[in-house]
Amino acid sequence: MKILAYIIVCLNTYSALGAGVPGGAVLHRAEKALTDVIVHDIFSPPVASRIYLYANVAAYETLVKAYPGDYRSLHGQVKAFPDLPAPREKIDGGLSAVYAFLMVGKKLVFSEGMMEDSLQSIISGYRGLSRSVYDASLRYGKRAADSIMAWADKDQYKETRKLPRYRFIKKEGKWIPTPPAYMAAIEPYWNKIRTVTLDSCSQFRPAGPPPFSKDTGSIFYRQAYDVYVTVNKLTQEQKDIANFWDCNPFAVTMEGHLHYAIKKISPGGHWMSIVGIVARQKGLSIKESSAAYTMASIALFDAFIACWDEKYRSNVIRPETYIDAYINEGWRPLLQTPPFPEYVSGHSIISQSTAVVLSGMLGDQVAFDDSTEVEFGLPARHFSSFLEAAQEAAQSRFYGGIHYRAAIEGGLVSGDEIGRWVMRRIRLKQ
């Protein structure tokens, strides 16, 4: 009796809904494990978005084939996307999916050991399965992972690693590295990465920044001055908002010879966490959760490519650099200026893009308590909708002193267009 009970408990470890499609718990756990390693390994925001995309797509495709019926594969909807054959053996779809997810994650992160530990811990919950089902599930999961990795391999990531390192332009108004660490510009060629849905990286090109000027009457100067004055008298609420959406994977503090970094979740990671929070809140099945994660990660991925395309095209000087040079040399922003050009704001474009997609999939009045940043020392914030969160994320960059208004507005407009485009190009639910 005890043994049977034990087996039943094990079988039910990840089964929120009893027989049929399991609940999303194991997938949420896998997402968190992946995020933890992404944070540890210090991946930049665009590169992190790539990891989330391929891991989630691997899980999704596995689930679509393991539990056929109401969800469609990305094959046929996304160019050159592989057609994963259906499983020929009896498998546990949830195990296969999460295994595929973690295998892809392991391939794409640096700390493989950390990832492997999480993987073993997560799949140990399936020990109750029969040996043949367990092994077959892992085999199928690996097959799915390999198939997605083969597709991923052609996205130009490898090729962009070989390109010359970035040389910042020594011209007034152009971006230069920022204090305190003067880090090299991140991913100057990210616009070459193959998009999922966009026809080209510049399909929804933002309007463009105001022309550079030091003239105190110019729009550019006034925008910079606006940042300067706002940061000088931030309210507590504004500071909280800026810090909540800091999402800086690698902020460096320098106190004399004591240098240390503070790591946080990337903006993409923050949104993936929001998906998890809402999926749990709504009790979504693993398939529904995976679909939400997948669409969100596609929206993030394409938005980052579009964003980085514009950043390096317009190559705008950061507020910190401008204000130090032309307004007040001792001024420091609230947040640490991240190491890439200014226009458009990454948070704005990717948050809006993702929020539009999530609204479309899960509803545009979905309220939630965002506890993502609690483990990074910041209290939860309540939002009445995805779009409200996106608005706040965008605005936070202004309060943080690292963006002018134009970059936020431009980002929100393009993000909106990209989100709608993703929803038009990809339909996951039948």
């Binding site: 640096f110 590295p177 204090p179 660490a181 003067y182 240390y260 503070i262 650099t321 990074f376």
Partner: protein, 1024 residues
């Protein structure tokens, strides 16, 4: 007896201590600096304990800082130094302070740097006595020109009459981004900060410093300490990503060239513009890497007549490593947060870290500008965390003992056993000055031995870090030596000259017994007639080479140095048949070169016609005038090189300009030269086939984007006839081994066998000197037979020196990396990550083991799959090539070697054998790019003059810039002797690439020096 003496102090954190007779009453007073986190400025006041007298053998004091105006309330002080800067007979005071928080490197700090801050900035106090003799110090900081702002993080101040003009100068160090200062005393109460004019680069995190004449040439040298570890393990823990952008941003913001390592600045005297010049040779001297170091002290510990060097080091908690930055702290913070602890304090983590004790260093001065590490031999290998230190003969036995302060441990007092072990001589001198400067601070002593060697010292007790030495002068000299003359130059300028001075005694000398000043017997006397005069301004040869801003490191991440900065080209020849040599200087891409014609007065004027201006796409790296078309005039051949264009680009084609006999040049038709689309550098003109016309060898250097693979060389046979110029590439026909001999930088045709078929000698990087013998026009590689196989180096120039010897310029000894046959520098080349491109791994030996130079970040940036292997820096800290790559990859790699870095002479031993001898250490300060043989001092014996530097190494390595040129005087019977620059007047600094000697109409000679991204320099040879 602290309490009895009354110097217990005010209880706040004290820092430096300075001993001097401030009130001129003959009794030594004590100044104690204070610092720390106190809000009350009264707590941040310094103390001046004026000695009131001596009772029962114990001196007693009273703190009179406030009355004297030296309490400096609110300052965070490091150290103070008393000296008479205005030579009015009393001691003034310089107070070295530091900021209350460290300023991160910021670019726009004009306002901060120009806003005085009297708490954090350094201060100068002038000793003013009123009519009744009351002493009061006046703050004259700003009037005197002392740099004063809140960015200052002063860690040491040392005073010395650096330029030997009789007035004390000041050197201050500053940790963090703010740079050091060299204050030249203007003699009128004002100082001029002159660091950039005199020092070519400085320590990045300058800590303690000392100033003393360590090479016994009568000029005081400067040493500053920094934080670079000696061992590979700690170096790799500290090294992060390449800093090219940050370095240049800070440079453009006025923070100057700074590298993280100890700097030993050798005083080279005052040039003719009146600027004091230094050559930084800390790496050549083997004292550059001593980890986090605090106190340098030059002192003769073994009494052999040469000042040795003590360095204290240590850090209480090792938080400087990159794992701490990237993993230890942030991961601990996240872990704490996961457990609900939102108040994670980094400081708490630091406190838990183990203390890493290191042994201090002591170096024995070898007398040849270099030192050897004798820490273990001399008994100082105890690991401690040490900082301040002082030397004094505590037991009065004629040798200097050491007191070393330690963190969280008792201080160490080391007794010097020299008196038992070596039994050399000593001489101790105590001085009594006239007036208020009773101890004669600032007095100089010059000791000349019977054999002519000299020692020079100045009496300034404040040295090292936060310490004062005993206020006396101590000399050591070997047991077999004896003193010929002792000269003391008092602060007033009066002199005491003594002969017959006995060894092993303490001399008490008084200024009142001194005589009048004689002609400068002291430090740097300026000889009347120098051998060279800088005539750049009046020569008319005004040309400034301007580099483009191509940064090789951006496309070749692991490159140790740029290959795109080889210009300018420099060629000389009489192009218009007027008997006067003319000069062509070549330019970089976009800004082609210029031809200058010499006139009857020996001045130069730009030629009216400059046809090469149309060809601005080429990087003109070398050029030569020669008669290509056998019409009796000199044509111009310009070699195209650089790293900017892809291999095979048309921009690498060389250019040939034909002379019409009157100095007017026209570009030769396109078919005059065969296609040569490789990046080249060397060129040698010679008639290899002995058919009466001049052929060319053009050496390929590096394949663009593929360091260190060589690019193609070309042997061009002159097939011109009937006035039609034509050269044929006969490399594969005549000698296929000449197609890819290596990264050739220099070439020379030399008829060694005197058979009119000249041999070819090649020099290049990571290749041996190569010799090709010539039998009736057939060239054969005889390098091995000549015994040159292991003469691999970073060869940079070849010059003939008469007889059959050759002068070879090489990289020099003044680098982080050293080379030898048993421990060569190597570059390993392979497609390490199978991504279709090859990557070079530059390796050299540290403490007997071979390591790749690249930091973890640099390596992982280029060889991406390694990011999975070396997540942490400690995983990479001991990695050797075999730990990074599988055996199969290493077996398939191509390895380029460098086993010799010295410049020197290649002797022709006959029977085809050649032998190399290195020049003395003074010729190894930097890369030698030019060598000219001539009788420069008019004594009938040929001399050798060399020059050269190399700035474009990786920013972490910094510029190789110590050379100011060197004249090596030929001595009868063979051999050369380096001539002191103050005597020769030779100061050729900068990024020197080419050197030629030109005759002027009156038979005089000029040296024309071409420098990369800099102005041409012209020197007149004074001797006839």
């Amino acid at each position: 007896m602290t309490r009895r003496a009354g110097v217990k102090g005010n209880g706040t954190w004290s820092t430096g201590v300075s001993i001097a007779d401030v009130n001129g009453d003959g009794l030594l007073d004590i100044y104690v600096c204070h610092s720390g986190k106190y809000d009350d400025p009264a707590k941040l006041s310094n103390e001046l304990f004026i000695c009131q007298g001596i009772k029962d053998g114990v001196p007693f004091y009273k703190d009179m800082a406030a009355e004297y105006g030296l309490d400096a309330p609110g300052t965070q002080s490091t150290q103070a130094v008393f000296f008479d800067y205005d030579k009015d007979g009393d001691l003034d005071m310089f107070l070295l302070n530091h900021s209350n928080h460290t300023y991160n490197p910021f670019l726009n700090t004009r306002k901060t740097r120009s806003t005085p801050d009297f708490h954090f900035g350094n201060r100068l106090f002038r000793n003013d006595r009123d009519a009744s003799g009351h002493i009061h110090f006046t703050d004259v900081t700003l009037d005197a020109g002392i740099v004063n702002n809140a960015l200052n993080f002063g860690l040491s101040v040392t005073v010395s009459d650096l330029d030997g003009d009789g007035w004390p100068d000041i050197y201050t160090t500053s940790d963090y981004t703010e740079k050091d200062c060299y204050y030249h005393n203007d003699h009128n109460g004002h100082f001029t900060e002159s660091l950039n004019k005199s020092f070519t680069h400085i320590s990045k995190y300058s800590m303690g410093s000392d100033i003393a004449d360590y090479n016994n040439d009568g000029r005081p040298d400067v040493i500053t300490l920094d934080m670079l570890p000696e061992d590979n393990h700690r170096q790799k823990l500290l090294k992060g990503p390449d800093e090219y952008d940050e370095y240049h941003l800070l440079l453009d913001s006025g923070y100057y060239h700074q590298q993280m390592r100890n700097m030993l600045h050798l005083n080279e005297g005052v040039d003719e513009h009146g600027d004091l010049r230094f050559s930084e040779i800390g790496q050549l001297a083997d004292v550059s890497n001593t980890d986090w170091s605090w106190s340098p002290l030059f002192a003769d510990f073994d009494n052999d007549g040469w000042k040795d060097l003590f360095v204290s080091n240590g850090y209480l908690r090792d938080f400087t490593d990159m794992d701490f930055l990237k993993y230890t702290v942030p991961d601990a913070k996240i872990a704490a947060a996961k457990q609900g602890n939102q108040n994670f304090q980094t400081y708490g983590l630091v406190q838990k870290m183990p203390s890493n004790k290191l042994s201090n260093y002591i170096f024995h001065n070898k007398g040849d500008l270099t030192f050897s590490n004798v820490t273990a031999d001399w008994g100082l290998s105890l690991p401690t965390v040490s900082n301040a230190a002082a030397y004094a003969d505590l037991d009065n036995d004629g040798d200097l003992d050491l007191v070393v302060c330690n963190n969280n441990e008792p201080a160490l007092v080391y007794r010097n056993e020299e008196d038992k072990l070596k039994k050399n001589h000593f001489l101790r001198i105590r001085l009594t000055g006239e007036g208020m400067n009773t101890r004669a601070y600032g007095a100089k002593a010059l000791l000349i031995m019977e054999d002519g060697t000299k020692q020079y010292q100045e009496l300034y007790p404040v040295r090292g870090y936060q310490s004062s030495m005993a206020p006396e002068l101590f000399f050591g000299f070997p047991s077999e030596a004896s003193i010929r003359k002792l000269t003391v130059i008092w602060p007033s300028g009066k002199e005491t000259v003594l002969t017959g001075v006995q060894a092993d005694q303490t001399m008490n000398l008084s200024e009142k017994d001194a005589g009048n000043a004689t002609a400068a017997a002291g430090a740097a006397g300026r000889p009347e007639s120098r051998l060279f005069t800088d005539v750049t301004e009046s020569s008319g040869l005004i040309y400034r080479h301007q580099e483009n801003d191509f940064v090789d490191f951006k496309s070749e991440v692991l490159l140790p140095y740029q290959l795109s900065r080889e210009g300018p080209a420099l060629a000389k020849g009489d192009v218009n048949g007027d008997g006067l040599e003319d000069v062509f200087v070549g330019g970089a891409i976009g800004l082609p070169g210029h031809l200058f014609l010499q006139d009857k007065e020996g001045h130069f004027k730009e030629s009216v016609r400059q046809p090469w201006l149309q060809d601005s796409v080429h990087e003109q790296v070398n050029a030569v005038f020669f008669d290509a078309d056998k019409d009796g005039d000199l044509d111009l051949y310009i070699v195209s090189g650089g790293n900017e264009y892809g291999d095979g680009s048309p921009e690498y084609q060389d250019q040939l300009y034909i002379n019409d006999g009157k100095g007017n040049f026209t570009k030769a038709p396109d078919d005059a030269l065969p296609p040569m689309l490789s990046s080249k550098l060397a060129i040698a003109v010679g008639d290899f086939d002995n058919d009466g016309d001049l052929d060319l060898f053009v050496g390929g250097r590096g394949q663009p984007g593929s360091f260190p693979l060589p690019s193609a060389s070309h042997l061009l046979r002159n097939d011109s006839h009937d006035g039609v110029v034509h050269f044929t590439d006969v490399t594969d026909l005549v000698c296929p081994a000449l197609r890819l001999p290596g990264m050739v930088t220099s070439a020379l045709w030399v008829d060694m066998e005197k058979d009119h078929f000249p041999e070819l000698v090649l020099g290049g990087e990571f290749m041996s000197v190569k010799l090709f013998d010539n039998k009736n026009g057939t060239l054969r590689d005889v390098t091995e037979r000549a015994g040159l196989t292991h003469l691999t180096g970073m060869w940079s120039c070849i010059a003939a020196v008469g007889g059959d010897d050759l002068l070879l310029g090489n990289g020099g000894y003044n680098d982080q990396f050293k080379a030898s046959v048993s421990e060569p520098m190597t570059v390993w080349v392979a497609d390490w990550d199978d991504n279709g491109t090859i990557d070079p791994l530059f390796c050299y030996y540290i403490q007997g083991k071979n390591y790749p130079m690249a930091s973890r970040d640099e390596l992982l940036d280029q060889i991406v799959p390694l990011k999975k292997k070396f997540v942490h820096y400690k995983d990479y800290a001991d990695a050797r090539l075999e730990d990074i790559f599988p055996k199969s990859k290493l077996a398939g790699a191509k390895v380029y070697k460098c086993e010799e870095m010295a410049s020197g002479v290649l002797h022709n031993k006959g029977q085809g054998r050649m032998d190399f001898t290195a020049w003395p250490v003074m010729a190894q300060f930097s890369k030698v790019y030019g060598a000219v043989v001539d009788d420069f001092d008019g004594d009938g014996i040929p001399d050798v003059l060399i020059a050269g530097n190399f700035f474009p190494y990786r920013t972490r390595l910094g510029r190789c810039d110590a050379s100011l040129g060197l004249l090596m005087k030929g001595i009868a019977g063979g051999g050369y002797q380096p001539v002191d620059p103050a005597v020769s007047g030779l100061y050729i600094g900068g990024d020197v690439r080419r050197l030629v000697e030109i005759r002027n109409p009156s038979g005089g000679k000029l040296l024309v020096v071409a420098k990369n991204d800099d102005a041409v320099q012209v020197l007149k040879v004074n001797a006839k």
